[in-house]
């Protein structure tokens, strides 16, 4: 039998549909009688709504219109279900951020709809807006949360205060990271229809989304409907990265309210400008770090004041902050730690989940700080890492013990050798001393990414998956995990194929439809392969056992597998085996004090980059990039490499090109013309290397999580390489656009 199980680069299952144009995304769906929806949004960051005017010349009676008053009149719940129910579907009296939705319109003619949207004027009494962290922390004006904080976390270990006075070196620094636009190529979109059942009306939505059960919960709350009367289906999803984690709940609510009032199906698909202006971005951050070292450069104490700009509503900021805080110490051993992390409310559009989820921000600060500290102490950055990198038996910031046989130093050495770091460093130093206009540098970062949900997240989720028989003799996977380009369809197939010893063609992936699949949790946090994949393997194994116990399958197959499943299905009317997450007994986590096992396991990496800088234009060119990581067992090498290459590219963009420009709280470069992401010409061939020495015992086949890790490493590596090329110490902020680089050079030359 052809081996199509774990470790094989089988082609993407849904690849053929995607390559022939047959894949159906939300905007592609032909739905008889559907009309289009649009959203009127706030132009101001903070204000009180005085009235809404409808200009003449538009046949308003043809339009379906929904406002906050209509939501109230219908008795619906005008709050989007999330960690805190603070965000309204539509602003009623107060506007708390620019682009906040105020009114919904629907009409069959898209062109007339757009004219109508522009013909609605919201009269507003503008109020002072809080648009930066310091203003918010000063708390002279309440924006959100308690004292303008949506979440505050303290992680304490040892006693840093006992160290500062006596340490050989104390290094302080402030680091900032900018917002980042998701820029999935398919914008957010959702279709909704209202169905009439025997027990009353129900709502069905289909769209571009990561987390069907988040949308499901939001809609049941909005309409006060029992769960079975809300149905959520995922269409093919054109990229997500976290940007379709919580936002789809809002657009689904909007489409569903319009559909309810219109009495027919409604589709809302954002255009690019709207999507960029209003949907969630990576949180901007500010880190203030202080570290103490002994004379040899060993870390004695570390203190971090870590801030995230959450925007006007809570959304997922508390958990983004949590991951950021836990990663703030990086992959280092340090006996005395104090991390103070706060998610701060401002009158900006809410920021949210984006690949890495807080970790890229805090890891950037720590890695940058270590390079600056090395230079201050006259140590080579490699040497400083060598003296401080975590090893087996060490304690992390939360007191979690490193239990795996971790060889981070070796991983670092191998990545640096791949790049040719040692000899390039010397050669470039000679080159840069010369008169050439182009300077060259090399840099690297060492880091980790916690796999799966933070702390007790998985315990609370208690995810369920199933595998069932089909009449055609295949087995079908039932999971709410969504394919968004990462390869879940293929990877889950391989996991089942491996568990049952059957070819991939005998494994069917059911569509994601809340009427069919159990809640296996959201498709986030690098958890789908490691956590949900394991549940899928267990359910598959359970089904096989059922087939054997009931005499349908004699020796476990694969011979006669199809016939056995067909027989079992026909005779039993269909058999399903479910599997539910059980928290491993050895994982202990204290949510209040942030002590214990923050993650069940970690992926580890060293990324190294070579770049050149044109000192006339200050353009930076990435010449070579090595991404070496330990991710447990790799299920599908070619898909995994694709994840890393894509993540690295987003990380390079965050470091060098992608700058969200705002004015009075509104994004002003919300176009692909002036928000710059990498093209094929801007990149070298990213060289991906996997190490599989430390399989995770509870992951399917030993797999760990992978998807977010590659976002963490590029930015600090790039700034280290710029430091190497230009001899600048004061690069502490991303993105480093050519303008920023020029400013830094001028500041450095005093």
């Amino acid at each position: 039998m052809k081996n199509e199980g774990i470790g094989i680069s089988v082609p993407r299952r849904e690849g053929r549909e995607k390559l022939t144009g047959a894949a159906l995304y939300v905007a592609d769906q032909i739905w008889p009688g559907r009309i289009y929806g649009a959203t009127v949004r706030s132009r101001v960051a903070h204000g009180r709504i005085l009235g809404i005017r409808f200009a003449e010349g538009i046949p308003w009676s043809e339009f379906t219109i929904v406002t906050a008053k209509d939501i109230e009149a219908m008795g619906w719940f005008n709050r989007v279900e999330s960690i805190e129910p603070d965000q309204p579907f539509l602003a009623g009296e107060f506007i708390n951020h620019a682009e906040e939705p105020i009114l919904l319109l629907a009409h069959p003619d898209r062109h007339l709809l757009e004219r109508a949207r522009r013909a609605v004027t919201v009269e507003v009494e503008e109020l002072p807006a809080v648009l930066d962290l310091d203003q918010s922390l000063a708390c002279r004006q309440a924006v959100g949360g308690r004292d303008n904080l949506f979440k505050e976390i303290r992680i304490e270990k040892g006693d840093p205060d006992g160290v500062w006075a006596t340490a050989a070196h104390v290094v302080e620094g402030e680091y900032r990271t900018g917002a980042q636009e998701q820029l999935y190529i398919e914008t957010n979109g959702m279709s909704a229809e209202v169905t009439q059942g025997e027990d009353g009306p129900g709502v069905t939505v289909r769209g571009s989304l990561q987390c069907p059960y988040y949308v499901h919960t939001a809609l049941t709350q909005l309409f006060h409907l029992p769960g079975p009367r809300v149905r959520v289906l995922q269409m093919d999803t054109g990229g997500a990265f976290g940007g379709k984690e919580d936002y789809p709940s809002i657009i689904a609510g909007h489409a569903a309210m319009l559909a309810w009032k219109a009495g027919g199906p409604v589709t809302i698909v954002y255009d690019r400008e709207e999507d960029m202006a209003c949907t969630t971005k990576r949180h901007p951050s500010r880190s203030r770090l202080r570290t103490a070292f002994d004379a040899e450069g060993r870390l004695l104490a570390m203190e971090s004041d870590f801030l995230l700009d959450a925007g006007a509503y809570c959304t997922l900021s508390p958990v983004v902050l949590s991951r950021g805080a836990i990663h703030a110490l990086g992959a280092y051993r340090c006996p005395n730690v104090r991390i103070h992390a706060r998610a701060v409310a401002t009158n900006s559009p809410p920021n949210g989940a984006f690949r890495g989820f807080g970790a890229p921000q805090s890891l950037f600060a720590m890695e940058r700080h270590m390079d600056i500290a090395a230079a201050r102490m006259g140590l080579d950055p490699v040497t400083l890492r060598r003296r401080n990198l975590l090893k087996k038996g060490d304690l992390m910031a939360t007191g979690q013990i490193v239990t795996e046989d971790l060889d981070l130093e070796g991983l670092m050495d191998r990545a640096l050798a791949d790049l040719g770091y040692p000899h390039k460093r010397a050669a470039f130093a000679r080159h840069n001393a010369g008169p050439g206009m182009v300077k060259k540098g090399v840099g690297f970062s060492v880091f980790m990414h916690g796999c799966g949900f933070t702390g007790s997240g998985e315990l609370h989720l208690a995810s369920v998956t199933g595998v069932r028989t089909r009449a055609d003799g295949r087995v079908e996977v039932l999971a709410a995990s969504t394919e968004m380009g990462q390869g879940k369809e293929t990877v889950f197939t391989q996991i089942v194929s491996e568990a049952l010893g059957i070819p991939n063609e005998l494994v069917s992936m059911g569509g994601v439809d809340t009427r069919e699949v159990p809640n296996s949790g959201p498709t986030v946090a690098s958890r789908s392969t490691m956590v949900v994949g394991r549940l899928v393997a267990d359910a598959a194994t359970g089904l096989k056992q059922m087939l054997m116990d009931q005499g349908f399958l004699r020796d476990g197959g694969p011979e006669g597998w199809r016939e056995a499943v067909q027989r079992a299905h026909a005779q039993s009317g269909g058999m399903t085996c479910f599997s539910q997450y059980q928290q491993p007994a050895n994982l202990v986590w204290d949510d209040v004090h942030y002590r214990g096992d923050a993650y069940p396991t970690y992926a580890w990496a060293c990324y190294a980059v070579e770049l050149s800088v044109d000192t006339v234009t200050w353009e930076v060119k990435v010449e070579d990039f090595v991404a070496r990581q330990e991710v447990g067992r790799v299920i599908n090498p070619i898909l995994a490499a694709g994840q890393v290459e894509g993540g690295v590219t987003q990380g390079l963009g965050w470091a060098l090109w992608e700058k969200v420009e705002t004015a009075q709280g509104r994004m002003v470069n919300n176009q692909m013309t002036n928000y710059i992401v990498a093209t094929a010409q801007d990149l070298p061939r990213i060289r991906v290397r996997f190490e599989e020495n430390n399989p995770y015992a509870l992951g399917p086949g030993g797999a760990k999580g992978l998807g977010e890790l590659p976002m963490d490493g590029p930015a600090p590596a790039v700034l280290a390489a710029l430091q190497d090329a230009l001899g600048l110490l004061e690069l502490r902020e991303v993105p480093v656009t050519p303008e920023r680089l020029l400013e830094a050079v001028e500041a450095d030359h005093g």
Binding site: G15, I185, T187, T237, G239, R272, M484, E645, T649
Partner: protein, 159 residues
């Protein structure tokens, strides 16, 4: 015919078609809605991302920037017309084998841009491939597997 509409006659994926359209309608909308071929995608609506790329009279165009009137009498190739009778085009096969498509949304445009590139240059170097595809933005792949797919299809590197 509705007032203001013109009869657009063109050959789409080898088939003669005639549809009434507004002269300044975007070719993208005509392809998706009037011709019923939703494989061509809208990513930005301003000619930056290349998701709406199609081949018109042998040249790659951003269909979001082409007014319908300009397509009168033209020969159009969209992603739906690339595979022949269920057999994938060599580039489609290479994209599948090399994992050149992830979320799939830039893919129709990217594949057609690759077809156009290989039409112009049968054996491109890696820099030529990167330049040839620079008008098509992909947010998922980092372009590595796309470059490898084009190389494989061109026979410059074995997959």
């Amino acid at each position: 015919m509705d007032e203001g509409r013109m009869q657009l006659e063109l050959t789409v994926n080898g088939v003669r078609r005639a549809v009434p359209v507004l002269p300044m309608a975007r070719l993208l909308d005509v392809i998706r809605e009037d011709l019923g071929l939703p494989g061509t995608k809208e990513g930005c609506g301003e000619g930056e991302c290349g998701a709406c790329s199609v081949i018109m009279d042998g040249k790659l165009v951003n269909s979001c920037l082409v007014p319908a009137v300009q397509a009168q009498g033209s020969e159009l190739l969209t992603i739906e017309g690339l595979a022949q009778g269920g057999t994938l085009h060599g580039l489609q096969q290479a994209f599948l084998a090399c994992n050149g498509a992830q979320c799939g949304f830039c893919t129709p445009g990217m594949v057609l841009a690759s077809v156009d590139l290989l039409n112009r240059c049968a054996h491109p170097s890696e820099p030529e491939i990167r330049e040839g595809l620079a008008g098509n933005i992909c947010r998922c792949t980092g372009y590595v597997k796309i470059v490898e797919a084009v190389q494989a299809a061109a026979g410059t590197v074995r997959p």
